[in-house]
């Protein structure tokens, strides 16, 4: 189980927390990539990759995941209006890292109505566009277990991560000028627990564990769906971003766009790929030469020292035409 001290990564989100306090099992030595830090020291060990599997065919759209996410991360999503849809809040926000998206689909092949409900949030890409686009050293890190995490102290709020994300996930807070998204509950995973959303999910549509186990489980689910007539059921673990550590089982894997415009073939924007040089330069400008070569350990706890001028420059570099919001 997750609390087994011999395991480097938890295998389930179901187990209860240990009684005894546990030391964190996720640290600087587990970082394999960090934004704007090309010369990062190699990790001291290799963690077992983890993954969160979202089986949309088991999802009842109850929003317990949203509730658990807000509770665990102590965010305060706004009490908005009803706009004639079930999505609330209406979109991902700096206070709401995950969102149930609902789409009504009249299936022309069967004549049946389908209500496709998908939990949206960070996919934790193997090849993370946000991290590649980010100019702030150490603001986005990737651990060897696959989690892509934002280190808010290092974030300059430039919004490059939004542009770099092929799934349109990060959101910049107008209050703190920092970017937010799902952390895959890295703070829970660090102490042997699965993400809060997976823990709360009543039907275990959201499950968490080693990616290998999750793939095997997903394959079983696909077989069950095929036996129920969903011939195109499959796994959504897109290669364009190197695979993801949050992945889906879909009834219609051939048409991911049915699920509130889940991208068919997500790829990092070529512009972002081409930004690497610029990024590095900006990173140097923003953080100062003194930061270069400093160990990540120091960066993780560093306060945001970006000047207003730097921030202004960064804002100007943000894509003026962000990808449209999916509804």
């Amino acid at each position: 189980m997750t609390t087994d001290p011999k395991l480097d990564s938890p295998r389930t989100a179901v187990a209860n927390p240990p009684i005894q306090p546990m030391p964190t099992n996720l640290g600087a030595g587990d970082v394999i990539r960090a934004s704007a830090m090309p010369d990062l020291a190699p990790p001291t060990r290799e963690l077992t990759p983890v993954a969160k599997l979202i089986d949309v065919s088991k999802c009842i759209g109850c929003k317990a995941c949203q509730s658990a996410c807000a509770e665990w991360n102590d965010t305060h999503p706004e009490i908005e209006h009803n706009t004639g849809v079930y999505e609330n809040p209406h979109d991902l926000t700096p206070e709401m890292f995950t969102l149930m998206r609902f789409s009504e689909y009249d299936n022309p092949e069967t004549g049946d109505l389908e209500w496709l409900i998908r939990k949206d949030g960070c996919m934790h890409c193997v090849d993370p566009g946000c991290l590649k686009a980010c100019p702030a050293p150490g603001a986005i890190v990737q651990y060897s277990n696959g989690i892509v995490d934002f280190i808010h102290e290092n974030c300059i709020g430039c919004g490059y991560c939004v542009t770099g994300c092929p799934f349109n996930i990060p959101r910049i807070s107008q209050k703190t000028h920092v970017s937010y998204k799902c952390t895959l509950c890295s703070d829970r995973v660090a102490v042997g627990q699965g993400p809060a959303c997976a823990k709360a999910c009543p039907t275990q549509a959201i499950v968490f564990g080693h990616k290998e186990d999750m793939i095997a489980h997903a394959e079983e689910r696909v077989a069950d769906l095929k036996s129920r007539g969903y011939e195109n059921a499959g796994i959504y673990d897109p290669e364009g971003v190197g695979g993801t550590h949050v992945f889906y089982v879909l009834h219609h894997a051939d048409k991911p766009a049915l699920y509130s415009n889940l991208p068919e073939n997500p790829r990092i924007s070529p512009v972002v790929e081409g930004w690497k040089g610029v990024t590095k330069t900006l990173g140097l400008a923003a953080i100062g030469l003194a930061a270069v070569g400093s160990v990540l350990h120091g960066l993780l706890g560093r306060a945001n020292t970006v000047s207003a001028e730097d921030e202004h420059e960064a804002e100007e570099l943000v894509d003026p035409n962000p990808p449209p919001e999916r509804t």
């Binding site: 949203q66 706009t83 004639g84 609330n88 049946d112 409900i117 039907t203 275990q204």
Partner: protein, 811 residues
């Protein structure tokens, strides 16, 4: 529930009809997901809306609100026509072979004996032919044309797939597909489970909806088996406990009855409660009624209840009407006949129908006391909140006292879940502010009332002055003391009834279970069905052993299930007449040659030979009932009845409105509308983001579903010029609300014959206090009428009109 939640994983087919399990019971719904994933089970949803349950179903069919009986009778008809009947089960475990009186009949939508003046039936013809031996006559060959089976066959023959299409608006092919899927479960090794909730109860014929499915389940042989059952999903965490301990005006704990005026003494009261078996050798467990009753009376009045004073029978109230249900109380309140009203954990201003009438009624009280952990609209009924509660505060003279109480997490005690599990819980938090436990508040009131009687006397002071109150701290009984009182205790040594030398429980000790209850005054016990939950071995409700031998899904040592820790009711019916399980892979109980053995506690005496004692021990027949004799006010079989407000006349009798025996108060009858003025059918329901009117006090729940809306089809939106996210006004003959419009494909218009029926869906979570945006509940619109048997209000089918409204559309 006949079966526990955990048993749903054993099913082959789930039908969710009259409920919305995924949304209203998401945690319990996990067992449906388990059955689907592990057993390959299928899920059918029949609902006016394509719900979130439907979104994970294998097959969905729409149905017009309030037409469920037609659908269910048509399913039974289809099973009979297509020989999808578990014959051995029907013949032996139901009353199919029982011969019914010649006078019984049905025509024009009504059963024999109807009196339109009284709005009631003379039910004398709805009964069996009793032979000279005193037993009901049966024909085990089912050939007699007057046997229940043939009467049922004739009764349901009118319900064809074509009638379903016409009355329910369910396309014929959808109905037939569902019938085929269900028909497979007539095989002895297949089981279907029925999960239902307020979608069936909140109708003027709600109890008959449930009867309909229960009968279908019996025809299929799905009661008493693993993966089967009639599973009522209770809407509050302890509403099962509420009915168990008799918190109804006409009930005593353990489903005993409050006496009526027609029962002036104990002998008369008991004379209609002899429950003599109707067939030879049957158990008829209610024959023990007097033991449960006398033990209850001893729990109430201790030494003051004696054989000489008929165990204090004369201190019990005697009903002059069938019930003082909530609807009747508000009718009386409106008429100025109620001075004081205590509202304990109850928010009727939003939870009961016709809010305008409720406000008028509350305004006539002298005193309203609200005991609740939360702010409620009821406590603020007098406060003007603009359009959301437009009252003239100055004109209301009612004094309102709010007594803040603790919530479940701040107190020890037990909650009874839908599966009849009494689960003990421990206080997890300290009560905030000046909130007090309900037991403390009630004790304080009791002490003061008793002092008043002592000092000043009064009419009939004895029940108050003699009430047993032997708690360690009379100011506040503990949950433990109350639980032990419900379990029961020996007042004198209790001996075995047959082997009288054998001492079962010495005086002063807790009883092992209700088989030790006696009617000679030697035992006390406040709720017989709970007996066994706290014995000399300790608090059985506190058990947390999650072992489940052979993974059968029963978890026998997890907490305590009433009765007798039995997890599946009627479990003897899981085996055939020889005592072999119908389905070897789903064994529950088995006759091992000497006794019943298996995973559960048998219903019948463990040594009762198979073939002799029937599984349905609470019935005088020993069998289940396809025909309920005179036990329900509106018929021994379910018959199609329209809602009181319907766009369609009853196909069997166009003159008949609603349920012909449901109680209707004069003023309310005038408030029933017709479809000329109110052309659209409305229905009400919960959303999964909220729990009733509680969670709108919580910011996160409020963020997840912030604002009152109604759901309508794209077609109705087009017809009325309504835009998605725009404001609409919805009104009935009783009131008007303003909401956001959620335009959806999931609520398609229904074609009922030549009539197109548009449905307006109205969720129920908004009011004028709390963190969410101010709104209304559907009860501003709903009619003031209840089920003919139990008075559950008709919230699920009524008429409204709708139009675009002014107000800024916010996006």
């Amino acid at each position: 529930m006949t079966n526990p939640w955990t048993d749903i994983k054993n099913t082959d087919l789930v039908i969710v009809m009259g409920g919305n399990a995924a949304e209203a019971h998401p945690c319990g719904f996990k067992w449906v997901t388990e059955a689907k994933a592990r057993r390959g089970a299928k899920l059918i949803v029949v609902d006016p809306r394509f719900t979130r349950t439907a979104s994970v179903s294998d097959y969905y069919a729409p149905i017009r609100p309030g037409s469920d009986i037609t659908f269910l009778m048509a399913l039974i008809n289809w099973m009979i026509q297509n020989d999808r009947v578990q014959w051995d089960y029907v013949r032996n475990f139901t009353n199919a072979p029982f011969i019914v009186k010649d006078e019984f009949g049905w025509s024009d939508g009504l059963f024999s004996g109807y009196d339109p003046e009284k709005r009631d039936y003379d039910k004398s013809s709805w009964d069996y032919v009793i032979g000279e031996d005193g037993f009901a006559q049966v024909d085990m060959t089912l050939q007699n044309p007057r046997c229940v089976w043939n009467l049922l066959k004739e009764h349901v023959s009118r319900y064809t797939p074509e009638l379903v299409a016409q009355v329910c608006g369910t396309p014929k092919d959808r109905f037939l597909h569902i019938a085929e899927m269900i028909g497979e479960c007539a095989a002895p090794d297949k089981a279907m489970t029925s999960m239902y909730a307020l979608g069936w109860t909140q109708h003027s014929k709600g109890a008959q909806n449930i009867r309909g499915m229960a009968m279908l389940q019996l025809v299929l042989g799905n009661i008493g088996v693993r993966g089967g059952g009639m599973n009522a999903l209770r809407g509050h965490s302890n509403i099962q406990g509420l009915t168990d301990i008799g918190l109804m005006s006409n009930l005593l704990p353990g489903y005993m009855n409050v006496p009526t005026e027609a029962e002036p003494d104990l002998a008369t009261y008991m004379s209609s409660r002899a429950f003599k078996p109707l067939r030879p050798g049957q158990t008829s467990y209610w024959q023990n009624y007097s033991k449960f009753f006398v033990s209850f009376m001893k729990a109430m009045w201790g030494d003051a209840a004696t054989a000489q004073n008929e165990w204090a029978y004369h201190w019990l109230p005697k009903l002059d009407v069938p019930t003082y249900d909530v609807l009747r109380m508000f009718e009386l309140m409106k008429a100025g006949k109620v001075n004081n009203y205590f509202c304990q954990g109850f928010n009727p201003l939003l939870a009961f129908p016709d809010r305008g009438k409720l406000t008028e009624a509350f305004s006539k009280l002298k005193l309203l006391v609200v005991m609740d952990p939360l702010e409620t609209e009821t406590a603020r009924f007098w406060e003007n909140h603009g359009e959301h509660n437009d009252v003239d505060t100055a004109a209301i003279q009612t004094e309102v006292i709010q007594l803040p109480t603790t919530c479940f997490a701040e107190d020890d005690g037990s909650l009874v879940n839908s599966g009849r599990w009494l689960q003990w819980h421990w206080a997890a938090g300290t009560p905030p502010g000046q909130s007090k436990r309900d037991t403390w508040i009630m004790s304080q009131i009791f002490q003061r009332v008793r002092t008043l009687y002592q000092d000043e006397g009064g009419i009939l002071p004895e029940p108050i002055l003699n009430l047993t109150w032997d708690y360690a701290d009379p100011e506040e009984p503990t949950a433990e003391e109350l639980a032990k009182e419900m379990n029961g205790r020996a007042l004198a040594d209790v001996h075995d009834l047959k082997d009288t030398a054998k001492l079962l429980t010495p005086a002063g000790k807790l009883l092992a279970n209700f088989s030790q209850y006696r009617d000679d005054g030697s035992t006390m016990g406040a709720c017989w069905i709970f007996s066994g939950s706290w014995t000399e071995d300790g608090n059985m409700m506190a058990r947390r052993d999650n072992a489940d031998p052979d993974d059968v899904g029963l978890f026998p040592n997890w907490t305590y299930a009433w009765p007798l820790n039995r997890r599946i009711l009627y479990n003897r019916a899981s085996a055939d007449l020889q005592g072999k399980p119908w389905d070897a892979s789903r064994k529950l109980m088995e006759w091992d040659g000497e006794k019943w053995a298996g995973y559960d506690v048998p219903d019948i005496a463990p040594t009762s030979k198979p073939g002799e004692v029937g599984p349905f021990i609470m019935n005088q027949e020993g069998t289940s009932r396809l025909f309920t004799r005179g036990m329900m006010r509106d018929g021994p079989f379910p018959t199609h009845m329209e809602p009181f407000e319907s766009p369609i006349a009853n196909v069997f009798n166009p003159e008949m409105r609603g349920n012909p025996v449901a109680r209707v108060f004069v003023d309310d009858a005038e408030q029933f509308a017709t479809s000329d003025e109110f052309p659209f059918v409305a229905t009400s329901y919960r959303l999964t983001e909220h729990f009733h009117y509680w969670t709108k006090n919580n910011r996160i729940n409020a963020a997840l579903q912030p604002e009152f809306f109604v759901e309508i089809s794209e077609e109705l939106a087009a017809l009325k010029g309504i835009t998605r996210g725009g404001w609409v006004r919805v009104w009935s003959k009783r009131g008007s609300v303003k909401a956001k419009a959620l335009v959806t494909k999931r609520l398609k218009p229904l074609q009922c014959g030549d009539k197109t029926v548009y449905v307006v869906g109205i969720p129920l979570h908004w009011g004028f206090v709390g963190a969410a945006r101010k709104g209304w509940g559907p009860n501003s619109l709903t009619p003031f009428v209840g089920d003919a048997n139990v008075e559950t209000p008709e919230f699920k089918a009524f008429l409204v009109n709708i139009e675009p409204a002014t107000g800024e559309a916010v996006s």
